[in-house]
């Protein structure tokens, strides 16, 4: 049992990162509880006739001094679109903090973090929070083209950044699983973390499993509540159907049926 909250935040920043991704930073007027990489918030979409339920987004950055947290929102459908139109000064209601976080690496671990699409957010959060030297941390980001990548250069103080694009316009050409960092063998890593499209995570999991490397992935699926009561967000696992919102979203690939 961890205390969870429903609260109004004020939007303090909403800036486009590229054509479809926005960084939205919100501020609370009270102290935030501890929040860990992998956890998410469930956001109420204001003033939309079409949207009934909240929408879940991973937490990207937290500033415990400023009581702010931010998320990277990719426009997928109606709710995410509407959310990216919110203006600074407006209020937004969050249910938070939700879900289990990634297992933190130990201080001597070498880790690989792989992010695709909006899965970049929790990977960068983890890179920053892991407390490791940047030489211990490889971050591999995949996207379709240069334009689909967002600018994360300032994370180079926490990690070594690698890029893959399907058209070769930034970093190596191909999927993340074709990137030299990935293909040169996963055994050199103590822990691998991934967040992104299902197909990407499955491909990563397959290799990690074959090479027997610890690997956690963060799943996304359709959620109604986000806190474990509706049982809509299930993932079939070795332990039966588990809720992505409370038993996850982070899962060790050993537990999945992939």
């Amino acid at each position: 049992m961890t205390k969870k909250f429903v609260a109004n935040f004020v939007v303090v920043e909403n800036k486009p990162l590229n054509a479809t991704n926005f960084l939205i930073k919100v501020k609370s007027d009270s102290t935030l509880p501890p929040i860990f990489p992998g956890q998410f918030v469930n956001v109420e979409i204001n003033d939309s006739k079409e949207i009934f339920l909240r929408r879940p987004f991973s937490i990207f950055e937290v500033d415990q001094k400023e009581n702010t947290l931010s998320m990277i929102v990719k426009i997928l459908g109606r709710g995410s679109k509407k959310l990216t139109e919110i203006e600074p000064g407006n209020q937004v209601s969050l249910v938070y903090p939700l879900g289990k976080s990634f297992t933190y690496p130990s201080s001597t671990d070498k880790v690989l973090l792989i992010g695709g699409g909006s899965g970049v957010a929790p990977m960068l959060f983890l890179a920053k929070e892991a407390g490791l030297d940047k030489t211990q941390v490889d971050v591999l980001l995949g996207a379709r083209t240069k334009e689909d990548h967002i600018d994360v250069e300032h994370y180079s103080k926490y990690a070594q950044l690698h890029y893959a694009t399907e058209d070769g316009s930034k970093g190596e050409k191909g999927f993340v699983t074709q990137h030299s960092v990935f293909t040169s063998g996963l055994r050199k890593y103590d822990k691998i973390y991934a967040c992104g499209p299902d197909g990407m995570m499955r491909a990563i999991a397959k290799v990690a499993k074959a090479e027997d490397v610890f690997c956690e992935v963060s799943l996304e699926n359709l959620m109604a509540c986000g806190f474990g009561v509706c049982l809509c967000c299930i993932e079939p696992t070795q332990k039966g159907n588990l809720c992505v919102c409370t038993d996850g979203p982070v899962f060790n690939i050993k537990d999945l049926k992939w």
């Binding site: 049992m1 961890t2 205390k3 969870k4 909250f5 429903v6 109420e44 079409e50 949207i51 009934f52 339920l53 909240r54 249910v95 699926n221 359709l222 109604a224 509540c225 986000g226 806190f227 474990g228 009561v229 509706c230 049982l231 809509c232 967000c233 299930i234 993932e235 079939p236 039966g240 159907n241 409370t246």
Partner: protein, 303 residues
């Protein structure tokens, strides 16, 4: 101070605001948000005799002012509940009502007998209306003989408060209500979800793994309210009302229509603190309207 206490047979509720089955887990999930003793009670997640994995993903689809679900009564079975969950929640200072589901009368009886052992569960809600699985008993819930039969048999083995939860997917819900009243139900609760469906026009596929699922949320409120009103006028036993309650006004409307207790369902997904808020606003409403005792609201529709 207004008096919010209501009684359903032997069950005393400190206030009429409770949480609906399948939308408040086993109460402990809600305890992450608020002190469970604040609300009138929890109708726990539907239980079956044995473990059930439920239906395949995807299990939900958003609809205009509502949602469809096809959870399919996923639960670990009554033994798991008794051993692992009950000890954790039994001392909550509120009513805990267990929601009982079966595919045969024997299932319902066996489950009831197990529940009977539990001191702190003073009532059951007999779900004969889940549209998503055979084990949800909707086969019983949509005909009078079916509803009568299962109520009668369960009544034989259960002395505490027996609430029968009715399906709205029927021509005349008050007939079903009268049928279960005749067989000794202490109260009826309504409505369960409406059988609905959603299609993705682009992929041309159903949005739910089960094609059809149960519709809940504000979309169904006008129909649910009508049914509560009809049933309250047809039976003498208390009525527990639900279906799309999103705020205090909605809860009050159900009470005016004849519900002694109301359940908040889908709205909890949007606002886990809603029940707490509604209790506050109900008190304010009663103050404003000069109503001392909440029971005076029940059936208070003016015509």
């Amino acid at each position: 101070m207004v008096d919010l206490k209501v009684k359903i047979h032997d069950l005393e509720f400190k206030n009429p605001i409770t949480l609906a089955s399948g939308t408040c887990g086993f109460a402990r999930e809600m305890a992450d948000f608020f002190d469970p003793s604040i609300v009138g009670g929890f109708f726990l997640k539907g239980s079956t005799l044995k473990n059930r994995d439920g239906n395949a993903y995807p299990r939900m689809a958003e609809t205009p002012a509502g949602m469809l679900n096809a959870v399919g009564l996923q639960n670990k079975g009554i033994d798991y509940f008794i051993e692992n969950i009950y000890p954790e929640i039994k001392d909550y200072d509120t009513q805990l009502i267990i929601n009982v589901n079966g595919s045969t009368v024997e299932d319902y009886i066996a489950l009831t007998e197990r529940v009977n052992e539990l001191d702190k569960i003073r009532g059951i809600e007999l779900n004969i209306s889940c549209p998503n699985v055979k084990e949800g008993g909707m086969a019983f819930g949509v005909s009078c003989p079916g509803a009568e039969m299962v109520t009668r048999e369960v009544r034989k083995v259960y002395d505490k408060t027996l609430i029968v939860k009715l399906s709205p997917n029927v021509t005349d819900i008050s007939e079903i209500a009268k049928a279960v009243e005749r067989q000794g139900a202490d109260a009826v609760s309504l409505v369960n979800t409406f059988l609905g469906m959603a299609i993705d026009a682009e992929t041309r596929k159903p949005k739910l793994s089960t094609i059809t699922g149960g519709l809940s949320g504000p979309a169904i409120k006008p129909i649910a309210l009508r049914m509560v009103w009809q049933v309250a006028n047809a039976v003498k036993i208390p009525v527990i009302g639900m279906g799309g309650i999103m705020n205090a006004a909605d809860a009050i409307e159900f009470m005016l229509a004849g519900a002694s207790v109301v359940q908040i369902g889908t709205a909890v997904f949007k606002d886990p603190l809603l029940a707490v808020q509604i209790i506050k606003e109900l008190e304010e409403y009663m103050d404003r309207h000069n109503i001392q005792n909440v029971n005076d609201l029940v059936g208070g529709l003016q015509m």
